[in-house]
């Protein structure tokens, strides 16, 4: 029985603490094939890859169901080392390169070729001498296979990013008998011409008989290079398509499609009201590593819930962080028509902006401190609330602090033993409520909420979203919500901006078609998009 499949993953399921993240997924890759894997964040791509590489996270959380066939033999991949021995290689999104080392040293990292010397014979293998000549020869031949004519003894430091990517690939093909190579979003960090070169090399590798599994969100790349494409959504296999028989539009639709019940029933009524612009972004850029925002223009209207969506790493998270002055930004910001000073957190807070960070544990909270301090601190520091004069000293007004915290605990239903409890001891959902309570204590005009439901359970998710809607309706608070979950954005927002590659790909209404959302998120050029939509 020779069906030519290098890898067959059959009916793979995986649970993390009762939470099903993969549900019966199948994936088949033939030798010499370029197979694309697409899906939104959280669709299960990385879990699937973790299973393929036998990562610790999988085995320490109870393993997986289903079976993996490698070269048509049932195989259990228990460790990354085993995966490597089988001939599975991975090109990471982040480079695993040491800048001070030469290309050869990086290619041979911890796989150095050694030779015996007098001492190593007595004291063991780790004292064998490095055989740099043979290492250089190996590195040379790996580089040659990729048509790289750079010298192998050059140090990494100072090389262009594209070259570094190739060194990573060279390392994988230098590992003997590579049969399957996984590329995890390799083109994300490359310039266009570098990306083209990479795709060419991938084709060349495939034609030499190596199977390639290509994870990407750029659907044009999918169309141009792959033989087959597998689409995942919410941990389920949506479909495996033959690329030549499909289109960007079809893939995009399959990637996003799901039922959305729109919570904002009065959407129609609202739309007719002509609202003022409360915040305007002009040529606004933010230098947030991994989430760069590049010259965007946006108008946020008073009293709306404005959603910001897009895939991870595309810059959606950078916008709120930039407006709050947490990461360096440039361009212009107008709040109610007045120019807002950039890169000054104090100033942003003083002007009635409040921010609930996407990074709850690192930025949003002081984990080993009380609920009280967490909730009142920003208001105390910025608005001099909760202070009282005692003779020469202006000190915390502990009575007022306690009273306010208790009110917030009641109002937002924060489950805790007392207002003095450390927030580190609370559950994720309750922690998120503390973050929101802190922002509310400021009485803000605009509330920025980033990833409000990340890492909290389903019940708490609903509570948090309901709370945001309530604040919006009852207090008329303008809310800017950034989220990776399109469903929740479409559930509560009035308008949704999709950010792709640091730019606004377009602004959509919650009721717009899945295809539109899918295409915009995949960074399909606006022009093509318009054609597609027409």
């Amino acid at each position: 029985m020779n069906n030519g499949y290098v890898l067959q993953m059959k009916d793979i399921s995986k649970e993390y603490y009762g939470n099903k993240v993969l549900k019966g997924v199948n994936l088949n890759v033939k030798a010499g094939e370029i197979h694309c894997l697409v899906g939104e964040n959280g669709a299960g791509k990385s879990t699937l890859m973790n299973i393929l590489f036998g990562m610790d996270v999988i085995h320490s959380t109870g393993g997986y169901e289903g079976e993996i066939l490698f070269n048509e033999k049932i195989t259990e991949i228990k460790s990354p080392k085993k995966a490597m021995e089988l001939g599975i290689g991975m090109v990471h999104q982040e480079f695993m390169l040491i800048p001070e080392f030469t290309i050869t040293e990086n290619i041979k990292l911890n796989r150095e070729i050694t030779k015996d010397n007098v001492i190593s014979k007595i004291l063991g293998d780790r004292l064998r001498t490095i055989d740099s000549k043979r290492m250089n020869d190996d590195a040379r031949s790996a580089l040659d296979r990729l048509d790289m004519n750079i010298d192998e003894w050059v140090r990494i430091v100072g090389l262009p990013v594209g070259h570094m990517q190739f060194v990573e690939i060279a390392r994988e093909i230098d590992k003997t008998k590579v049969k399957l190579m996984v590329f995890d979003e390799p083109t994300a960090v490359l310039t266009e011409s570098e990306a083209d070169n990479l795709l060419k090399s991938m084709k060349k590798l495939a034609s030499s008989g190596i199977a390639i599994l290509f994870i990407t969100h750029r659907l044009d790349e999918v169309i141009s290079i792959s033989d087959n494409v597998t689409i995942l959504r919410d941990g389920e296999l949506v479909k495996t398509l033959v690329t030549s028989e499909s289109s960007v539009g079809e893939i995009a639709e399959l990637m996003v499609g799901r039922k959305v019940d729109i919570l904002n029933k009065e959407e129609k009524n609202k739309k007719q009201v002509k609202r003022e612009v409360i915040l305007e972004l002009k040529d606004f850029s933010v230098h947030m590593p991994g989430e760069e925002v590049k010259n965007i223009n946006l108008k946020i209207e008073n009293g709306e819930i404005f959603g910001i969506g897009g895939l991870a790493g595309q810059g959606k998270v950078g916008i709120a962080n930039g407006i709050m002055g947490l990461y360096p930004s440039n361009g212009e910001l107008y709040l109610k028509g007045n120019k807002l000073k950039l890169n000054d957190t104090n100033n942003s807070l003083e002007n009635g902006l409040a921010f609930v960070s996407e990074d709850r544990r690192e930025v949003g909270l002081i984990l080993d401190s009380s609920i009280e301090l967490n909730i009142i601190f920003t208001a105390l520091n910025i608005q001099n609330k909760f202070l009282k004069k005692y003779l020469f000293f202006t000190l915390q007004n502990s009575k007022k602090i306690k009273k306010h915290t208790d009110e917030m605990i009641k109002k937002l239903d924060i489950r805790c033993t007392s207002s003095k409890q450390n927030v580190g001891k609370l559950s994720g959902g309750n922690q998120q409520k503390v973050c929101i309570a802190r922002a509310l204590t400021q009485d803000p005009d605009i509330l920025f909420v980033s990833e409000p439901t990340r890492g909290i359970d389903i019940g708490a998710k609903k509570l948090v979203l309901d709370l945001l809607v309530e604040l919006n309706k009852e207090l008329g608070m303008t809310i800017v919500m950034t989220s990776s979950e399109l469903t929740e954005l479409r559930k509560i927002s009035d308008r949704i901006a999709i950010i792709s590659e640091g730019k606004v790909a377009g602004i959509l209404k919650p009721g717009d078609s899945d295809k539109k959302f899918g295409l915009m998120m995949s960074g399909t050029k606006i022009k093509e998009l318009q054609e597609e939509v027409i």
Partner: protein
């Protein structure tokens, strides 16, 4: 135009050379001023320097491997020094003297140093990022235990009977222990130094000749090589010229019959130091050496590529501790008396200050830094009291200045390292 560019390039090269070696250059200047002020005879200074270089270099060299493995300046070598002293106490108590005693103390020191190094290394793995303060404190901590053992357990729990080493009341070791050699030896003094001493200038002539032969060999080898050589033939020609100058000067001094011509060097000790230098160079060319470098440059990448980071750091610490133990034994066989409760305490700071003065940093060190640093540091050490006296009329000022230099240079280089790390991470 091209010439101007060439000159500009040379200028900027010169500038970057100065900036890179600023600490070393400052100390060369201080040393020269100190020598001029001190009014000490040149012969005295050179003699002292030979002594101090031969007895301290080994300790300073023991610092290199932990620096390359990313642990930083190993203040924990104090613990190694304690292992060395423990071994010396053992051989001295059993009356094993001379070369035999010396070699035995190296052997006895080994298991202690491995054990202490293992514990220190474990601690370093638990205090990643704070190894340098942890190393300092671990020295203080171990000193408490060391004192407890040798002040209270000796003569009570450890059955050591009354010898000249033990205090009159039978409990605890004396403050100083004589290691005298000679005709009626009671210790290991000069066990290594005394094997073979050679006139300094004969030694220089022989050494320079060897360098010349090596240089000529390299030049010939450079002619037919595929890869670009590490050093150009020009560098080797410079070596030859320097060697010739040394030979000429040496012959000149010998002929002139000045008091300098009487100076001698402990050849075997220097040979042992040379072997250690070679060891430090060679180990970096092995698999474990490559692992040290990888771990030193990036623990996370090392871990991902399957290197056992903690174990590698542990090995580096153990090697350093063992070398420090042996270094302390070499140090004491030269000094000839052991200050039981004091000798080890300064070892870490002095060795670290020396290697930093030689141009090393928290992440970069080599044999050259260690040797140049030892020479410069001890030059300052020799001349500063007398220089202080000439300058301010008080020898104490020179001594305080010396101590200030030790702490200051360590503080500054730690500061620069932290500052650079921050500057890089902010980019």
């Amino acid at each position: 135009m091209a010439e101007v560019k060439e000159i500009n390039k040379k200028n900027s090269q010169l500038k970057s050379f100065f900036i890179k070696n600023i600490v070393t250059i400052i100390f060369i200047v201080i040393t020269i001023i100190g020598i001029l002020l001190s009014e000490l005879s040149f012969t005295f200074i050179v003699n002292e320097l030979i002594n101090r270089i031969s007895r301290n270099s080994f300790l300073v060299l023991s610092l290199i491997i932990p620096i390359l493995a990313g642990i930083g300046l190993n203040f924990g070598i104090v613990v190694g020094a304690m292992a060395g002293q423990t071994a010396i106490i053992m051989v001295t108590y059993w009356g094993i003297t001379g070369l035999k005693g010396f070699i035995l103390s190296l052997i006895f020191a080994f298991p202690f140093a491995v054990l202490f190094g293992y514990l220190t290394g474990k601690l370093f793995n638990k205090t990643k990022g704070q190894e340098m303060i942890a190393g300092l404190i671990v020295g203080f901590f171990a000193n408490g235990i060391y004192q407890f053992v040798f002040l209270y357990l000796v003569g009570t729990i450890i059955p050591m009977k009354n010898t000249v080493m033990i205090k009159p009341d039978g409990v605890g070791l004396r403050n100083t222990i004589s290691l005298c050699g000679g005709d009626y030896p009671d210790g290991i003094k000069y066990a290594l130094d005394g094997i073979f001493r050679l006139n300094l200038f004969y030694f220089m002539i022989i050494g320079s000749s060897l360098v010349m032969i090596y240089a000529v060999y390299k030049i010939l080898k450079n002619r037919n090589k595929k890869y670009i050589p590490v050093k150009s033939s020009g560098t080797y020609i410079t070596y030859i010229i320097i060697a010739l100058v040394f030979i000429a000067v040496s012959i000149g001094v010998l002929v002139s019959g000045s008091s300098l011509a009487m100076l001698k060097v402990p050849v075997i000790t220097l040979a042992v130091i040379a072997v250690l230098c070679l060891f430090n160079v060679l180990i970096m060319k092995t698999k474990i050496g490559q692992d040290f470098r990888t771990v030193g440059l990036s623990q996370s990448i090392a871990k991902v590529s399957g290197i056992n980071v903690d174990r590698t750091r542990l090995i580096a610490t153990i090697i350093s501790t063992v070398l420090a133990a042996w270094g302390q034994i070499i140090f004491l066989q030269n000094i000839g008396t052991m200050n039981t409760y004091g000798n080890h305490m300064q070892v870490g700071m002095f060795a670290i200050a020396a290697i930093l003065i030689g141009g090393a940093s928290v992440t970069k060190a080599n044999v050259r830094h260690a040797l140049i640093g030892t020479a410069l540091f001890h030059s300052v050490f020799i001349v500063s009291p007398t220089a202080g006296k000439t300058l301010f009329g008080d020898a104490q000022i020179g001594e305080f200045f010396r101590a200030f230099v030790v702490y200051g240079v360590i503080g500054i280089s730690l500061g620069l390292h932290a500052w650079k790390k921050r500057a890089v991470s902010r980019l």
